[in-house]
Every structure is written in C-alpha cells, then in structure tokens.
C-alpha cells in the first residue's frame, strides 16, 4: 500500500455561498486500501465530504491532504494532477451517452496523455490497453464500441466505474453509486466495488443511503449528521442505536434496500 492513497481531513468545513453548512469541523483519517462507507440522511454532507476530496467543492475551512499533498482550493494544473489520481463514480453515471463506451473510458486517461492526442482521438496504444483492461475488469469489454446511451443502467454505471479505473487511481470516490439502480444490479455493482478494492488495493469511499448495504459491504462506517461526524466505527460493531443517532430518528423501511433485512 502506498501512502498516496491516504486521505486526511483536518478541521474541514464547507459553508455554501447561500449560507448552508455542508461540512463542519471534520477530523478524519482514511488509511490506504480502506473501504469506507459514509451514511447519513440527505443533506447530511455526504456528497460534500466526497467532493471536497477532489476539490469539486472547495473547503472554506481547514484542510484536506491526499497522499500528504494539500488539496488546492483553486482550479488549475495542480488540482488536475491530484484529480488524475482520484477516480469518481456518480449516482447519475455522468457518461456521455452519445459517445462510444471506449471513448467514455478513455476520458479516464485525459490527464495522462498530451492534450492534442486526446483532441484528435490519437490515444497511445498503452492507454487504449488500460481502457480495455478496465472494461474487462467490470465485465463489459464486449460493449467497447457500443454507444454508451444504448446500455442498461447497470452497464452504464460499469462504464462509469471503468472510466474511474482507467485513471489507475489510488483512490475511488463513489457518490451514491447505486441510488438509480434496481436491487439486483445494486448488489452486483457493490460487489464490483468491493472486489476492485480487494484486488487493486484502491482506497474506496462510498456514500450510501441504505443501512443494510452499508453494513453488508462496508469495512468501516462513517456517519454524518448536519455536516458533522457523528459515527466512526467498523461495520460489525454498528448498532441500531448508532443509526438512530446518525439519522436523528428511528430507521424505517425506507432506509433499507431489502425489507426482509429490516429488523
């Protein structure tokens, strides 16, 4: 494990221009290779936490270091270099439906090749190889030349994962990656993420809404409420009482994916 994969929050806070508090005084250390699940009700700051790691949402307070390097607060070359090593997966996939699967995955290589090569679609063979390997890892290499928009929801999310993998990242951030998927696909995607974490040792931070998913797939669970850290522990030790504290109410059927697992 290299230390490039470590994330440290020190007094990290985000106040949005409209005055809303995204994060407040977060002190947190994520070790290389960890698989961390972040839970909390909507508006608790889960997305803000993730987006502050790659600078999509700049901190207004405190610092975050990724692999020992502080996250720059302004757009620019340095922030692009940091982002190149941090893959991100989104709830709404965020792939370009009109382009082929391959082109979408190659977007994961844009920070690693000269601009003119990307511009004229002259990707080096090595980068094409990396993209193909990424597609193979999520099992959709046969779809490489299909238009991304023609794929099913689960397959589109795999394109999103492959794009993140093509970055050969030290860290993967997944912002509610299964929230727009059906239960069966949800479990497939979660297993993919766990497998990638185990096989490649990529530090993985996943935001989830469902408690049963968090407990089942997370090694470590972090609970946010109102932008503050209210829980940090292993998935095995988290109790119903902890969830109640995180959500500020008793968890109900809407907080679990599979109702049979609701206790």
């Amino acid at each position: 494990m290299n230390d490039k994969a470590a994330i440290r929050f020190k007094g990290a806070g985000v106040v949005y221009p409209n005055g809303a508090v995204g994060l407040a005084g977060i002190d947190l250390e994520i070790k290389p290779g960890e698989f961390v699940v972040v839970v909390g009700s909507s508006g608790a700051g889960k997305s803000t936490l993730l987006r502050s790691v790659n600078g999509l949402t700049p901190l207004t307070d405190g610092t975050i270091t990724v692999g020992g390097q502080p996250v720059p607060k302004k757009e620019g070359r340095e922030l692009r270099r940091l982002r190149a090593g941090v893959g991100m997966i989104f709830q709404d996939f965020r792939i370009t439906r009109r382009l082929t699967v391959m082109t979408n995955v190659l977007v994961g290589r844009v920070a690693h090749v000269p601009g003119w090569r990307a511009m004229f679609n002259l990707w080096p063979a090595a980068d094409r190889e990396i993209a193909f390997k990424a597609l193979e890892r999520v099992g959709i290499a046969d779809k490489a030349w299909v238009r991304a928009g023609d794929l099913s929801g689960g397959q589109q999310q795999r394109v999103g994962i492959a794009r993140a993998l093509a970055q050969e990242p030290a860290i993967i951030l997944a912002d509610e990656p299964v929230a727009s998927l059906d239960p069966v696909t949800t479990h497939q995607i979660m297993r993919d993420l766990v497998r990638i974490n185990e096989e490649l040792g990529i530090t993985t931070v996943v935001n989830l809404h469902f408690l049963d998913l968090a407990r089942r797939y997370g090694q470590r669970i972090i609970g946010l409420r109102g932008g503050e850290l209210v829980y940090d522990g292993t998935a095995n030790s988290v109790t119903q009482e902890d969830f109640k504290n995180i959500y500020g109410r008793d968890p109900d059927a809407g907080d679990v994916l599979d109702e049979r697992e609701a206790s």
Binding site: L56, A84, M88, D92, R98, V107, V110, A111
Partner: protein
C-alpha cells in the same frame, strides 16, 4: 366510496379568462397598426386603385423565358458555391465563438462579454452591408459574396448554438473535470457531444439561408445568380426575372428536402 366524493368536491374550478388582458392586447395591436399605416402612408384604397399597375407587371412576367435557362446554369452553380464556402468557413469559425459566449462554458466574464458584443455587432449589420464592405475590399465578385456569407453564417450559428450549449446538462462536464480533464477536454468529451445534433441542424439551416441570401448579394455585385437577376430586372426583361426566381425557388426546395432528411436522421 366517500373518497371519490371528496375528490370531486376538491376539483379546482377552471380559472376565468382574463378578458381585460385579451381585449387590451388586441386593442394595442390594432392601435399600433393604425398608427404605423398612417405613418408610412399605407392605404387599402390607394392600393386597390393601383392594382392595375401590379397586374400589368404580372402579365408581362408570364410566361417565363425558358430559352434563357442555359445562361442561368453557371450563375446558379456559382450561387451554390458561394453558399458552400460561406457555410463551411463560417460554420467552423462559429464553434469557438459560440462556446466562449455560452455562460456555463466560457473561461471568464471578460471573454464572455467581449465575445457576446462581437456577436451582437455581427448580427446587427445586415448581410448586404457585409457584401458591400467585402466588395470594396476584395473587389466585386463571388469572393466578396462568400466572405459576406461567412460573416452571416457565424452570426446565425453562434447565436443559436451558444443558447443550445447553455442548455446542456453540466453533470457530465463535471465528471470530465473530476477525472483531471482540462477545460478543452471538458468541452470535447462532456459539453460539445451533447449539443452536436443542434450544431449540425443549425449549420444546415444556415446553408439554406445562404442560398437564399446569395440571390440578394448579387444586387450589390457580390456574384452569383443575383447579379444576373439585377441586370435582367434593370432592362425590364420580366419573363427572364420570373425564370430566375423560379429556378432559385426550386434550388432552395431541393436543399431544404435534403437537409430535412439529414436532420430527421440525427434527432
């Protein structure tokens, strides 16, 4: 079930029409029309009295002088060529101009402001003005016409397309930036693909407009069929004028059909 009855009683009433607004708006338009007609001396009665003059013109213009057609082919082709050059060069130059004018994609306020005003100037000045300007600069002929249409094409496409670009979903461009992509990569892989069908559609539309416009451009000596039209009109060869108008009409209809079929396939 009582639930059904409850639903019926809570159905909202259809709101009353705002007759004051409707009558007021109609009255306003009538008043403005009356005021404008008086201003330019537009009168139905006078028009009716002058109708015989117009009838004489129509009678003299018919039938078209078909024997003139062979001499039209060259200028028609030139019209088409002027339109092609104007559309291709203008279409390419419109890309950066539209991107910089899209509020969500522009790199900075100053660039946006300068570009927006540049576009406004292009649009404010009519194509005839540009034709005269370029005719003075590079001499009378088709090159001046092609340059004028280049400017006209930039004006049309950049305005329409920058609005399409502003309407795209910024989620995908953000994902490209999250992967470490530069501004250019964000444009190329996140933003532009979403608005590409609009670009093709507007470019085809600009081509249609250009074929039409190149008829007018000839009036100021910028080449094409318009120059023939002007010579024939000034020597009162009305049957020939009719033929010219008809042939341009047919040319425009053909182009419209082709571009419509391309557009249908795209969207």
């Amino acid at each position: 079930m009582s639930e059904a009855i409850d639903a019926a009683t809570t159905r909202p009433l259809r709101p009353a029409r705002n007759w004051v607004l409707i009558i007021g708006a109609l009255g306003m338009v009538s008043l403005m029309t009356w005021w404008s007609a008086r201003g330019i001396g537009f009168s139905i009665i006078e028009l009716a009295c002058n109708l015989p003059g117009g009838r004489r013109l129509l009678v003299e213009s018919w039938p078209p002088d078909w024997s003139f057609f062979p001499r039209l082919l060259g200028p028609l082709l030139e019209t088409l060529q002027i339109a092609v050059i104007g559309t291709v060069i203008g279409g390419i130059l419109a890309i950066p101009i539209a991107v910089l004018a899209a509020r969500n994609l522009t790199p900075g306020f100053l660039v946006w402001f300068v570009d927006r005003n540049f576009m406004n100037i292009l649009r404010t000045l009519p194509d005839l003005f540009w034709a005269m300007l370029f005719a003075a600069a590079v001499g009378f002929g088709p090159v001046a016409g092609a340059l004028a249409l280049t400017v006209f094409t930039i004006a049309v496409i950049s305005k329409l397309w920058s609005e399409s670009l502003e309407a795209i979903d910024m989620a995908v461009p953000e994902a490209v930036r999250a992967a470490g992509g530069s501004w250019l990569a964000m444009l190329q892989f996140g933003a532009i693909p979403q608005a590409l069908p609009h670009y093709v559609s507007y470019t085809l539309y600009a081509f249609e407009l250009n074929v039409r416009a190149s008829m007018i451009l000839g009036l100021v000596g910028a080449g094409g069929i318009g120059m023939v039209l002007e010579t024939q009109r000034s020597t009162f060869e009305y049957p020939r004028v009719t033929l010219i108008v008809l042939s341009v009409l047919v040319l425009v209809l053909i182009i419209e059909q082709i571009s419509e079929s391309i557009r249908r396939r795209l969207i």
